[in-house]
C-alpha cells in the first residue's frame, strides 16, 4: 500500500509541477514576479517655497 501511496504522490506531484510551471511563466513575463513590469514610484518634488513654508511652521509666532 505504501508503494501505491507514493505512486499517487508522484502522479499528483507531476501534475502540480506542470500547473505551477504553467502559472509561473505568465507572472515572470508580465513582471508580476520579477518586478520588471512595475512602475517607478512617483517622485514628489518640493519647491523651495514649499520647503520654507514647512520650516516656518516650527517657528514660534
Amino acid at each position: 500500500m505504501r508503494n501505491v501511496l507514493w505512486t499517487i504522490f508522484a502522479i499528483v506531484g507531476g501534475i502540480m509541477g506542470f500547473l505551477m510551471g504553467y502559472a509561473t511563466a505568465p507572472m515572470i513575463e508580465s513582471g508580476v514576479l520579477t518586478g520588471q513590469g512595475a512602475k517607478r514610484a512617483t517622485k514628489i518634488e518640493a519647491g523651495k517655497e514649499l520647503e520654507q513654508f514647512y520650516k516656518d511652521l516650527y517657528k514660534e509666532r
Binding site: 500500500m1 501505491v4 501511496l5 499517487i8 502522479i11 499528483v12 501534475i15 502540480m16 500547473l19 505551477m20 504553467y22 502559472a23 509561473t24 511563466a25 505568465p26 507572472m27 508580465s30 508580476v32 514576479l33
Partner: protein, 474 residues
C-alpha cells in the same frame, strides 16, 4: 474490501481525475483553470482525511472528554497556513479579501458551532467523511447545501423581520433591478447591514498594507495569528493538558512544577497532535500554492474571475449580474455546495438569480463547469483515496436518529455559513490565517456554540440511555 480492490479503486479515482484534466485541456486551454481547483481539491481531501481534520470532533474531544489533541492540531495548522499565506501576501499574489467584521460574525459562528456538534461533523469534516463512505456525513453535506440555497432566497413573510434601517440602507446601495433587494431577508441583511461593517486586517490596523513584508509577517502573521494562537494554546494547556502531564512527570519527585516542566508539558501537548499538524502543514502549503497558481492563470488569461473564462467558452448561463462566478482562488467549502442546489432549484423553476448571494456575487453555473465545484468533487476523491489506502474506507448507512441529527445540524451550519459569509474553513480557518480579525470573531461564536452543542448532546444522550435502561429493567 480486499487490498487489491482498494488499490484498484484508489488508482481508478486518480485516473478519472487525470482523464478529466487531460481531456478538458485538450478541448480548451481555459479548462486548466478548473483543473487547478480540481487538483488542489484532491490534495485538500487527502490532507483532511489523513489529519482527521474535523472541528466538530476537535471541540467534542475537548469539551466532552477533555482531550485537546485535535484542537491543538487545528491551531498549529492555522499557524502553518498563516506563515505560507504571509509569503504569498508579501509577494502580492494573494487572492484573499477580508470580510466585514461585526456582531453578526459571533452570532453566525454560534449557530454554526451548535450545528456542527449536532451533525457530528463540521463542513470540511463532513466532506472528508463522505469520501470515507460515511453516508451520514453525506446527508450533512446535502442538508448544508439545501438550507443555504433556501435561506438566501427567503422573502415574503421574512421581509417583515427586516429592521427598517437595513431596508433603507440596502435600498440606497443602487443594486440592479434584477436583484430586487427589497425582497429577501438575506439580501437586506447583506446590503443593509453586513456591507456597512468595517473591513479590517491586523496589518491595516497597525498601519501597514497586507502586501508589505511588515504587514504580512508582523501584522497578519505574528500579531494576528502566532501570538493569539500561542496564548490560546496556553489556555488549553492549563485547562486540559497540564494536570495529566504533571501527574506523570512529577509522580516520583512529588515536587512543585518548575518553568522547564511547564515548557516541557506545553511542547508535549503540541507534538501530541502530530498527524493533524502534518496535515495542517500540507494544507497550509497547498492553500498558499493554490492562491499562487490561480493568480498566475488569471494573469495569463487576463481575467480577475472565472466568469469571463466561462463566457468565452460559451457558458453564459448562471453568471452573476456582474459577469462573475464564485472563484475564491483558495480553499472554500460551503458556497459551492449552495451553488449546486441553487442551480437545481433554478432549473426546476425557482428563480435563484434574484438574490445577492447568487445573482450579484456568486452565480449558479452548471456544476459540471463550476470551478469551486471541481474542487469539492475532487476533495471527496482525495479523501476516498487516502481512506482506501489506509483501509479506512467503509460504507456506513445512517440510522433514523443520526439522519435527523445530520439534517438539523446541517441546516444550522447552512444558516450559520450564510450569516457569517463562510463556514469553519472560509469564515474561520482561512480568515484567521490571513490576518482577518473577523475570523477570530466567528471563532469566538463557534467555540461558544460548540460548547453548548456538546453539553446539549451529552444531556440528550444520557437522558435517552437512562430511559432505555429504565425500560429494560421494567
Amino acid at each position: 474490501m480486499s487490498e487489491a480492490k482498494r488499490k484498484f479503486w484508489a488508482f481508478a479515482i486518480v485516473a478519472t481525475l487525470v482523464l478529466i484534466s487531460v481531456a478538458t485541456y485538450a478541448y480548451h486551454e481555459f479548462y486548466l483553470y478548473l483543473s487547478v481547483y480540481l487538483w488542489f481539491g484532491f490534495i485538500y481531501g487527502m490532507c483532511l482525511q489523513y489529519g482527521r481534520f474535523c472541528f466538530s470532533s476537535a471541540f467534542r474531544d475537548l469539551f466532552a472528554v477533555g482531550v485537546p489533541r485535535m484542537a491543538v492540531g487545528i491551531m498549529i495548522a492555522i499557524a502553518f497556513f498563516a506563515l505560507v499565506g504571509a509569503f504569498v501576501s508579501a509577494t502580492g499574489l494573494s487572492t484573499f479579501h477580508s470580510a466585514p467584521i461585526g456582531l453578526h460574525a459571533v452570532i453566525a459562528g454560534f449557530i454554526f458551532g451548535v450545528g456542527m456538534c449536532f451533525a457530528g461533523g463540521c463542513a470540511s469534516g463532513s466532506m472528508y467523511k463522505t469520501g470515507e463512505g460515511n453516508m451520514n456525513a453525506a446527508l450533512v453535506v446535502v442538508s448544508i447545501s439545501v438550507t443555504q440555497a433556501v435561506f438566501v432566497d427567503i422573502g415574503g413573510w421574512a421581509n417583515a423581520l427586516v429592521p427598517a434601517s437595513w431596508a433603507k440602507s440596502a435600498s440606497e446601495k443602487g443594486l440592479p433591478a434584477s436583484i430586487n433587494v427589497a425582497d429577501g431577508w438575506v439580501d437586506q441583511y447583506l446590503a443593509g447591514y453586513v456591507w456597512d461593517q468595517p473591513v479590517l486586517s491586523f496589518a491595516t490596523m497597525l498601519g501597514w498594507t497586507d502586501q508589505s513584508v511588515m504587514g504580512a509577517f508582523l501584522g497578519n502573521f505574528l500579531v494576528g495569528v502566532a501570538l493569539p494562537g500561542a496564548a490560546l494554546l496556553v489556555v488549553v494547556y492549563f485547562f486540559w493538558s497540564r494536570r495529566t502531564f504533571m501527574k506523570k512527570r512529577l509522580a516520583a519527585a512529588s515536587a512543585r512544577p518548575r518553568l522547564t516542566d511547564e515548557l516541557a508539558g506545553y511542547w508535549a501537548m503540541v507534538v501530541a497532535s502530530k498527524r493533524t499538524a502534518i496535515a495542517g502543514l500540507a494544507l497550509g502549503i497547498a492553500a498558499g500554492l493554490h492562491m499562487y497558481a490561480s493568480q498566475g492563470l488569471r494573469v495569463k488569461y487576463g481575467v480577475r474571475n472565472a466568469g469571463p473564462l466561462l463566457e468565452r467558452m460559451g457558458f453564459d448561463f448562471g453568471l452573476s449580474v456582474n459577469g462573475t462566478v464564485f472563484d475564491p482562488g483558495y480553499w472554500y467549502v460551503t458556497t459551492q455546495e449552495a451553488q449546486w442546489v441553487g442551480w437545481v432549484f433554478h432549473k426546476l423553476g425557482w428563480n435563484q438569480m434574484d438574490n445577492i448571494f447568487f445573482g450579484f456575487n456568486n452565480g449558479i453555473p452548471n456544476p459540471l463547469i463550476n470551478p469551486a465545484d471541481w474542487m469539492s468533487i475532487a476533495l471527496f476523491g482525495g479523501a476516498a483515496v487516502m481512506a482506501l489506502l489506509h483501509n479506512e474506507f467503509k460504507f456506513k448507512k445512517p440510522t433514523l436518529e443520526t439522519a435527523i441529527w445530520a439534517i438539523i445540524g446541517g441546516a444550522l451550519m447552512g444558516i450559520g455559513s450564510r450569516l457569517g459569509l463562510g463556514c469553519n474553513v472560509g469564515a474561520f480557518f482561512v480568515r484567521v490565517s490571513q490576518g482577518d480579525p473577523s475570523g477570530w470573531v466567528f471563532g469566538i461564536g463557534m467555540v461558544g456554540g460548540a460548547y453548548l452543542g456538546v453539553k446539549f448532546f451529552n444531556w440528550w444522550t444520557e437522558r435517552r440511555m437512562a430511559r432505555q435502561f429504565a425500560a429494560t429493567i421494567t
